[in-house]
Amino acid sequence: MDKLKQLAKELLSNNQVQIIVGYEEGTVGKARPAFISSPDQADTLIYDERCIHNLAVYLTQHKLPGNTKIAVIASFPVMKSIITLASEKQLDENFIKVIGISKDNNIIEFKDFADIERYINQQDLSFTPEEQALIDKIDAMSMEERWEYWQNEFSRCFKCYACRSACPMCYCTLCITDFNQPQWVSVPSHKLGNFEWHINRAMHLAGRCIGCDECSRACPLDLPINLLTKKLSMDIQKQFGYSAGQSLTEPYALSTYKPDDKETFIR
């Protein structure tokens, strides 16, 4: 990845960007997100199969200084996240430079977001057989089995909200769980509180999830909560032909309507 380091150095030294969000060598053999702001730090940048964090999460966290041009190293899920965030008017294209990394590890210097959109739509966007198999397994359960499955999983949750924090689409400044007038979601991590949270999380991400699986990867308790949002993505694709992370302009399926909708109630 010498090319990546070279590019980073160039971008920083001619002040095209002020910060690069990428990956560096972490501890105990892990890779981790890194923030590079001077050319001499660029040598610490890495990119390999361990670089799985969805860096798009940092673009909406308001941690990076304002009025700063940011370059972000974007794997395929990061590209899709950026397109979704842009379609939801959360990103200012003038301040973000996207350095894409293709599946065969080539660097793609995107001109603009539309360029990313074009690239994404040239790729295979179908759910992988592995993803389909995971969902099929849950679908095959009876209602009672499924209820019990999720009850067991949710009861383990202690509400550290790593799923929320790691998700680029969870950018609300006041999350429904932090709202207390009224208290929509019970605060404690008892069975009810956990159900309320995970159902709300899934519904708020329904069809907006781009399938990076960061939520369950971030979960210290390995709850398979990515299955919920994945299943909803599949359903929304089936019902409305909408998939997140593929279009800058197509409105989100659940917040719009079309006059020629096949359902009569909406007309």
């Binding site: 202690f158 509400k159 550290c160 210290p220």
Partner: protein
């Protein structure tokens, strides 16, 4: 290496001991293998799934004395009459925590110090009183472990009522540390023998990464240091580190139910959350993640030793293993000691 005298608990005696504990009304928590991982779980009898060679679990047993959700009382209320029903403290469970490593056993000390600081927390103290801790020396460690840096050793019995060390034969060298430990021993004397052995030879060697008192001194005057921001850039602001930590005690108080009937609940919270210190006015004294990261470190390594005479970190490494973005605590502590406090 010195040979000393220990009680001996043979591996084949474990089922009988577990049966006795269960029969006497104890709830046993033990490290149980589940696929690749080992987690503490309630067991009623001994089984081969109980893992005495695990490195560390994801979750500690903090929840047995400081549950993630603790009902403080029920209330009933109409316009002019209200009553409060406290739980029956005599019915709190008698727990035996089996096979905790020394870091986890030592973690009860800071919990105790916090929940006893001038005001006794009856819920915690009752649970603690009914708890027997059976510690287990560490035969393995990983790169996240740093107990020796926080003045704990992989063989220390501090915090344990009984201390076990597994020997070459797979049996346990037993030290009876406290009266509570003696009670368990007295209950099942016939299962224990005597042995002379060298405990130290079975114990893993955890390298010391930093000096705790030096760190503590170094943190004086560090409030405005530039490293808080630099270290916390990656932090995504979740509570994973706090919730897997065996000593974190931040909590929330919440009412649940209707005006006429419901409960008040004490539940885990984390100083890492943005809304933790938010005033109703909108003002937030710890508004940014770097301020919250600073609070986490200073609380454990500066405020706690200063105010309640105990450090808030046992070197178990759980926070570092659990962190989704590799905020490795020992790495950051070492950096704090190396970096200047002022720009």
């Amino acid at each position: 290496m010195a040979t000393e005298n220990y009680k001996l608990l043979k591996k084949e005696s474990l089922p009988a001991l577990f049966d006795k504990l269960t029969a006497s009304g104890k709830t046993i928590y033990a490290p149980v293998k589940n696929g690749e991982k080992t987690e503490f779980d309630v067991v009623t009898k001994y089984s081969n799934d109980i893992n005495d060679e695990y490195i560390q679990t994801v979750q500690s047993l903090k929840g047995t004395v400081f549950p993630k959700v603790e009902k403080l009382f029920d209330y009933k209320s109409d316009k002019t009459d209200t009553s409060i029903q406290e739980p029956d403290f005599s019915k709190f469970p008698q727990n035996v925590l089996w096979g905790l490593h020394p870091c986890d056993a030592a973690a009860f000390r800071p919990l105790d110090a916090t929940f006893r600081w001038d005001y006794d927390d009856k819920y915690f103290l009752t649970r603690m009183k009914l708890t027997t801790v059976v510690g287990l020396s560490c035969s393995k460690h990983d790169d996240y472990c740093f107990c020796t840096s926080v003045d704990i050793s992989p063989a220390s019995s501090d915090g344990s009522d009984i201390m076990l060390t597994k020997n070459k034969a797979g049996d346990y060298l037993v030290e009876i540390v406290t009266e509570k430990g003696q009670e368990v021993y007295d209950m099942a004397k016939e299962l224990f023998g005597e042995i002379s052995d060298d405990k130290e030879s079975y114990i893993t060697d955890v390298p010391k990464k930093f000096d705790l008192n030096e760190l503590n001194k170094n943190l004086d005057g560090s409030f405005e240091a530039p490293y808080w921001l630099a270290q916390s850039m990656r932090c995504i602001g979740c509570g994973a580190c706090a919730y897997v930590c065996p000593t974190c005690t931040c909590f929330d108080l919440q009412d649940e139910g209707a005006a006429n009937k419901g409960s008040r609940i004490k539940c885990w919270d984390s100083c890492g959350f943005g809304h933790f210190t938010l005033h109703t006015s909108g003002h937030n004294p710890r508004e940014t993640q770097s301020q919250r990261w600073r609070q986490r470190i200073l609380h454990k390594f500066s405020y706690m030793p200063d105010r309640i005479k105990v450090f808030g970190c046992m070197g178990c490494g759980r926070c570092s293993r659990a962190c989704p973005v590799d905020m490795n605590i020992s790495e950051n502590l070492i950096k704090i000691m190396e970096e200047p406090k002022n720009e």
